[in-house]
């Protein structure tokens, strides 16, 4: 690819140890993908598939019981999993920023907007006084907040959900990041605000050339926002492809099922719903984790874990079906 790779995740494994290590949950089990500047990767999957854990592993902020037990995260030529907390802190908020899901809770109710937006610039760029105020005002204008010099003196509870998510967006940009991870930023917004917010992210990406990981379970958004899509199931990356290929020719049965369960305008077909329920990550089924719910399940799926197959159109899928297709053609 002409553009250089901003982030290269190779075989990332993150496990949770609870009850003194007796119970191990393999939340992320060998995830690999690459992200280039200006590119948007959609990370899709049901809740509990490991999407958020992957993001947290990248920035090194796992919950108490979480541990990265394998793989590497290369970012700007360094493996983040090797770095200490002190070093990671200089990267978080400055080189990598995160936008969280719930705008109502992401902002500290007791601090003014100015203070919360200014903090990354204050701590990372060491801006003070007038230059800091100007920086904050420019950020707020970038996220299209009207009359920023007034609004920045107000408090979070004086703003709507949409406005707050834009503030969170401004905070993300404050450090001048190369990579922004947006963890379902629009789930809590109502539809009209959602569309505005997505356009905003698109504009910002275009202006700053920042790489974007967009975590969602809404395939409609993926179609609109993302260049590439990665589908996760039970901690594994089951399929990864450019947006067009994924929607036109989904390779993995789970991806097909996801697309099938998306209501299309005007179509009368019954919605497809995947039978069974998501697997227990502490005791995954043998072989391919999806096999108990897979409509095209084969005996092989039950015993042998599939490996990645590259059918050649830029997509990668981890399913034995592809193995047959390849050999047949």
């Amino acid at each position: 690819m002409a553009r250089d790779a901003v982030l290269r995740v190779a075989d990332l494994q993150t496990h949770f140890f609870t009850f003194g290590g007796a119970r191990v949950v393999r939340a992320v089990d060998g995830v690999s993908f690459t992200l280039h500047a200006g590119e948007t990767l959609g990370l899709v999957g049901e809740s509990g598939s490991g999407k958020t854990t992957t993001c947290l592993s990248i920035v090194g902020l796992l919950p108490r019981a979480g541990r990265i037990v394998g793989g590497s995260v290369l970012f700007e030529g360094a493996d983040l999993t090797r770095k200490s907390q002190r070093e990671l802190r200089r990267i978080r908020g400055r080189r990598i920023a995160v936008i969280l899901q719930d705008p109502m809770a992401s902002l500290n109710p007791l601090f003014t907007i100015f203070r919360q937006v200014a903090e990354p610039a204050f701590f990372h760029q060491h801006l003070r006084g007038r230059s800091l105020r100007e920086r904050v005002q420019s950020l707020l204008r970038a996220v299209r907040i009207p009359s920023p010099e007034w609004r920045m003196r107000e408090y979070p509870h004086q703003m709507s959900g949409g406005m707050r998510q834009r503030i969170v967006g401004a905070i993300a940009l404050a450090g001048g990041p190369r990579l922004v991870i947006a963890d379902e930023p629009t789930t809590n917004l109502d539809v009209t605000i959602q569309a505005q917010y997505l356009d905003l992210l698109k504009d910002i990406q275009r202006e700053t050339g920042v790489a974007l990981i967009f975590v969602t379970h809404n395939l409609g958004i993926v179609a609109k926002m993302c260049d590439r899509v990665a589908v996760m199931y039970a901690g594994k990356l089951v399929e990864q492809a450019p947006v067009r290929e994924l929607f036109d020719a989904p390779k993995h049965p789970y991806t097909r099922a996801l697309l099938g369960s998306m209501p299309k305008l005007g179509s009368k077909e019954p919605l497809y719903s995947i039978r069974g329920h998501p697997p227990n990550l502490a005791s995954l089924p043998s072989g391919c984790s999806f096999h108990p719910r897979c409509p095209d399940v084969m005996p092989r799926c039950m015993t042998e874990e599939p490996r990645d197959f590259r059918p050649g159109d830029g997509s990668v899928a981890r399913c034995w079906l592809l193995d047959d297709v390849l050999t047949r053609s």
Binding site: R89, L100, A105, L107, L110, Y155, Q158
Partner: protein, 306 residues
């Protein structure tokens, strides 16, 4: 804001009315003061003389009416025992009680809050367990036992501190510790749980994702939010410490309000008991108001909504 103030004043009036009625009634039911005031070889007519002298021969409603009437004008009646206006006695002792109350509150805050924060941040580690142990100890030792042990160790054996009485700062140390220790434990527990809740919140996660140093995240973001319930408890504790420190005051011969009330009750000094309890009522209202104003100062959401 004015609507808020009017409502608070109305509340205070009702609270004071209930308080004054209750204490007026209960004190009179504890017995007849004249029996205690008259000398061993008094005769019935002596009792009548004393009863008349203090207006105790009038019916209760009449006595209550005059009591409330005077109370409104700030005159709380004259103590049987001290023959001094109750307000004068009260304000003579108030500084001592406030010193002790503040010192004990300070101790409870200085021990309770930091320990609470540490045990919240380092939850389920050795620190947390030590803090929880200290909290349990605090809640299970009666104040007077701790007081006497302190006197025995620091005053009689080590001779560092004076045993009792009031004077310079050295007199306050032990009583404040004996009084504050119990409240430090409850402060610790509340701070810990309040901090745990705040540290689990999204905005703390975002603050960390901003790459802010741990100190800023905990001390600025988390602590300020955790402070609100802590202040409520501190406010209530403060009132209790000033007015109900009778046991510590008796042990350390501290000239506070608690002792004044304690002696007043046993000697059936009606005006004194009523006056001190009413003033305690005022103090509660004052501190509740102060805490509410503090809320508005800390939490912008409250400031605008009232």
């Amino acid at each position: 804001m004015s609507q808020f103030i009017i409502r608070r004043i109305l509340y205070s009036v009702v609270t004071l009315f209930i308080l004054s009625a209750t204490i007026f009634l209960i004190v009179r039911l504890t017995g007849d003061p004249v029996a205690l005031m008259a000398e061993a070889s008094a005769r019935p007519e002596d009792l009548e003389r004393i009863r008349h002298q203090w207006g105790l021969d009038r019916s209760w409603p009449v006595q209550y009416a005059t009591f409330m009437q005077n109370a409104l004008t700030g005159e709380l009646g004259k103590s049987f025992n001290y023959r001094l206006p109750v307000s004068e006695l009260y304000f003579q002792r108030l500084p001592n009680s406030l010193t002790l109350g503040l010192a004990a509150t300070l101790i409870s805050l200085l021990i309770g809050i930091p320990a609470g924060i540490i045990s919240a941040v380092k939850v389920n580690t050795a620190w947390d367990n030590v803090a929880k142990g200290v909290a349990l100890l605090g809640l299970s030792i009666p104040g007077f036992w701790l007081g006497l042990v302190l006197i025995l160790v620091f005053s009689v054996w080590l001779r560092w501190l004076p045993t009792s009485g009031s004077g310079d700062w050295r007199h306050v140390v032990m009583p404040a510790l004996a009084l504050g220790w119990y409240f430090a434990a409850s402060m610790l527990r509340l701070t810990r749980s309040s901090m745990l809740e705040v540290l689990g919140s999204e905005y703390i996660k975002l603050a960390r994702l901003k790459g802010l140093p741990d100190f800023v995240v905990i001390a600025m973001h988390a602590f300020k939010n955790a402070l609100i319930p802590v202040f409520t408890l501190a406010g209530v504790n403060m009132v209790v410490m000033v007015n109900a420190a009778v046991i510590i005051e008796v042990i350390f011969a501290w000239p506070g309000i608690g002792r004044l009330l304690y002696e007043g009750i046993f000697q059936r000094d009606f005006p004194l008991v009523q006056g001190v309890v009413i003033m305690a009522g005022f103090m509660i209202i004052g501190i509740n108001l102060f805490v509410d104003v503090l809320y508005a100062f800390i939490d912008p959401r409250i400031r605008l909504s009232r």
